[in-house]
Each structure stands twice: as structure tokens, then as C-alpha cells.
């Protein structure tokens, strides 16, 4: 599995994604905060599915659960699903133009949010606020930037 793959940029980007998803922001920005860690995981799922794949998604999700203090496994399941779809589509998504990629990422993020929404409801803490869908939009808007940054990090290795 691991021959010839340098996983350091991946792990570094995961740490940065995690920090960015909990760093304090003013309230109005906080509502629109993209799911940085999710975008990072989706990027690696699309570009190098063998490097992290679903295991990366699962553990990143578990970390998010621990940070956000929700029921353990919630973000893990949602992130695994989004990452699985991304891995399934990765050969196609890679050759899409970047805007088309952003659209794909948008609905992956929406799928992720929907899973969270659903599990929130099932575990008895529903958040029925339309603002909770904003991160999917902002995340998709930021995808070109992310793909550029992470692409640089990946190619340098």
C-alpha cells in the first residue's frame, strides 16, 4: 500500500484543516466557515485515493467528533460517505475543469451536511436553521484555491 507514497503533505494538510476548522472567527464568518478538513479529505480522496482513502476520512471524522463534542461517529460516517463517493468518481473528477470540480465538490459537501443534519436529528439535537447549509457553498467556492494550494504541496514532494 505505502510504497513510493509520501504521506507527509497529506498529514500536514489534515492538521492545518483541523486547526482551520476550530480557529476562532467572528460570528458572521463562523456561520460561513467552510468545512476545511472535509475539503482536504475530499482533495486527497480525489487526487491520491491510495494515500489515505477511507481510513483518512474515518479518522479525520473521528477527530472532528472529538473536537465538536457531538456523538462519536457522526462526522466519521458523513465524511466516509462523501469520501467514498469522491473515490468512486475520482478518475472522472480529476479531468474535469476546475469549475466543474467545484460543482462536484459542492454536492459532496451538501451530502456531508445532509448526513450531519440527519444524524443530528436522530441523536436528538436537531439544528433546523438554513444557515447550516452555507458552508457547502463557501467550501465549493473555495475549492479552486484549495486545489491550487494542495496541488502545489503535492507536486513538491
Amino acid at each position: 500500500m505505502s510504497e513510493g507514497l509520501n504521506r507527509i503533505p497529506m498529514l500536514l494538510s489534515v492538521v492545518f484543516g483541523l486547526i482551520l476548522s476550530v480557529v476562532p472567527l467572528p460570528h458572521w464568518l463562523n456561520i460561513a466557515r467552510p468545512d476545511f478538513l472535509v475539503i482536504v479529505v475530499l482533495y486527497w480522496s480525489i487526487m491520491v485515493p491510495r494515500a489515505g482513502g477511507l481510513m483518512l476520512a474515518f479518522f479525520a471524522g473521528l477527530l472532528l467528533d472529538a473536537f465538536k463534542g457531538v456523538v462519536l461517529g457522526q462526522h466519521a460516517l458523513a465524511l466516509c460517505l462523501a469520501s467514498y463517493v469522491a473515490i468512486k468518481l475520482h478518475l472522472r473528477v480529476r479531468i474535469f475543469p476546475v469549475l466543474h470540480q467545484a460543482l462536484t465538490v459542492f454536492w459532496l459537501l451538501a451530502l456531508y451536511q445532509f448526513m450531519l443534519f440527519w444524524i443530528d436529528g436522530m441523536s436528538g439535537h436537531p439544528i433546523t436553521n438554513y444557515a447550516r447549509w452555507i458552508p457547502a457553498f463557501t467550501g465549493a467556492l473555495l475549492w479552486p484555491v484549495f486545489a491550487g494550494l494542495l496541488g502545489n504541496a503535492y507536486q513538491r514532494t
Binding site: G53, L62, L63
Partner: protein
């Protein structure tokens, strides 16, 4: 950036289980985790272990703002410090003056309670905890404080700030704990109108500046400006601490219940430091006041 990668990054058939199988495995694992966590509560030790991992990151995330605050304090001007010092002296004098009477009143209270063989529940001990500047979910009012079970914090421990009740601990880790604020939409606190002893429940609204009192009838004796203090029913919060001030009372004649909103006394969104308190009785003592509890349950807010 988006070009096709070389062969080394392309999936090669026959390497490990297929993505579908892996997804099935991880999905089952997460659902199992959720079930264990939600229904059984078995995962406290795993949570503890995870909080050891998350705490350093939380401290790291918090450190730039903490450093900035420290810098700000270090380079405060002399005039500013003098003004603050003078202001604090005045406040200390006022507080001392009130404290003089308090010692006497406390003695009298103890004596009277001794006559009635009733125990008082006054905060006995407190520890100052710092709120870590870490954003959790923007739709929930939860914070992380830097005290955990190693400092004696426990689940359900009340948290106060200098001006009122702040919240309670929902999950105590080893070095840090998660707390819920009284304004969280999932939080409710039993309160009493200080003016006449009317008891009710203040429910969080999800808005950082508002509590709502949904269980009072339209003929209840409550008006804007009333101070709400904790009633101590429910056994979590000690009685007699300020919770909120009533800001708006809307008594529509057609409605059974009045719409009442109140503003929390604690500075929920501006606090840096809060107090974790221990009362002199075990935290959960619901059977200690059975008559009062049932009385409020059957006729909420009916007692004048």
C-alpha cells in the same frame, strides 16, 4: 493542478479490499460507535483519551489570542492602569461595605436554618477556569474550559461568572471540559422571580442575549425588570444566584401562556474567565426536596 497523475497514484486492481467493502466496514464502525456512545454511554474512556489528543490542539489554537491579550496587558499605559486601579478601589470599597453586612446575615441565616434543621446550599469552593477561544458549532452555545477531572470538575457542575449563572459542564475531560451555556437551545434552568418567589423554568433560545420563560400563565405576577435567580430545584445549580433580568412580557389576552423573554445576567459572550463551583452538598440531590419539586411540577408557576 488538475492534470491526470502518473501511474503511481492511480488505483491498481487487486490491492487490498475494494472501496465499497472498505466503506461498508467504516460505515458499520461509525454506526456502532454512535450507537455505543448515544444509547449506552460506554465510550467515556474513549472520550477521555480523545480529549488528551484534542486539548493540545485547542491550546495551540487559543494561544495567538492569548498571546495578543498578554501583549495588550503588558503594554497598557500608566494612566489607563491608574484609572483602572482607582475604579477597582471604589468597587472593592463598595463590596467590602456589603460584605460587612453579609457576614452578619450569614450568621443569622445559619442560625435560623439550624432551628429549622434545613441545610443551605451556598457555593463552598470555586476554581477559576479560562475559556479556550475555540469555535465549536456556531448554532450551539458550548465552550471549552481549561479545567477537567484532574482539577475535580465533574459532569453537571455549575459554572458562574462574576455577575450570574453561566452554564454547566456537559462533559468533563482530564484537562479540559465542555460546558453548555444557559442560552443554548437545549438548556433549561429552574428559576425564581426574586421579587415574589414565583417559580418557573428559563429555557435557552439559541440567541446569545435571550432566555425565554415559556411556562408562565398570562395572569402570572411578572413584569419587565424583574430579577430571576436560580431556585435550586433540580439539584444542579445552587439557589439564589442571579440568572437573568426580564426584558419583555407579552400578555396577549387570547393566549394561555405569556411570552416572556429575559436577558442573562452573566456576560456570556464576553467572558474570558469563569468560576467552577462546588456546593457543600452532593451535586444531585433531587429527593432532598420532594414536596417542593412535585408542587412545581403539577402547578408550574402557580405559587404566588
Amino acid at each position: 493542478m488538475v492534470a491526470l497523475r502518473t501511474a503511481e497514484s492511480r488505483p491498481i486492481l487487486g490491492r487490498g479490499p475494494s472501496p465499497g467493502l472498505r466503506f461498508f466496514f467504516f460505515a458499520l464502525l461509525s454506526i456502532g460507535l454512535m450507537w455505543l456512545d448515544q444509547r449506552q454511554g460506554y465510550l467515556e474512556s474513549l472520550r477521555h483519551a480523545l480529549s488528551m489528543v484534542t486539548y493540545p490542539v485547542q491550546v495551540a489554537v487559543n494561544s495567538p489570542t492569548a498571546f495578543w491579550d498578554w501583549l495588550h496587558e503588558s503594554f497598557e499605559t500608566r494612566e489607563h492602569l491608574q484609572a483602572e486601579n482607582a475604579q477597582l478601589k471604589v468597587r472593592l470599597r463598595d463590596a467590602d461595605f456589603r460584605l460587612m453586612r453579609l457576614v452578619d446575615l450569614e450568621q443569622e441565616n445559619m442560625r435560623l436554618r439550624g432551628l429549622r434543621e434545613a441545610t443551605s446550599r451556598v457555593a463552598q469552593r470555586f476554581v477559576v477556569a479560562e475559556i479556550l477561544r475555540v469555535d465549536l458549532n456556531p448554532f450551539r452555545h458550548r465552550v471549552i474550559v481549561n479545567k477537567g477531572t484532574s482539577d475535580g470538575a465533574f459532569k453537571g457542575q455549575p459554572i458562574l461568572d462574576a455577575s450570574g449563572i453561566f452554564g454547566q459542564i456537559t462533559r468533563a475531560g482530564t484537562f479540559s471540559s465542555e460546558a453548555i451555556l444557559i442560552t443554548d437551545a437545549e438548556h433549561a434552568i429552574p428559576v425564581q422571580v426574586n421579587r415574589n418567589g414565583l417559580r418557573t423554568i428559563a429555557v435557552g433560545t439559541g440567541d446569545p442575549g435571550t432566555l425565554s420563560l415559556p411556562f408562565l400563565a398570562t395572569n402570572a405576577d411578572i413584569k419587565a425588570g424583574d430579577l430571576l435567580v436560580s431556585s435550586g430545584l433540580g439539584g444542579v445549580f445552587p439557589p439564589g444566584y442571579p440568572v437573568a433580568t426580564v426584558t419583555k412580557v407579552n400578555k396577549a389576552a387570547a393566549q394561555m401562556l405569556a411570552e416572556i423573554s429575559a436577558e442573562p445576567a452573566a456576560k456570556l459572550d464576553r467572558d474570558r474567565e469563569v468560576l467552577l463551583i462546588w456546593t457543600n452538598e452532593p451535586p444531585i440531590d433531587v429527593p432532598a426536596e420532594p414536596e417542593e419539586t412535585t408542587a412545581t411540577k403539577t402547578t408550574p408557576g402557580a405559587k404566588p
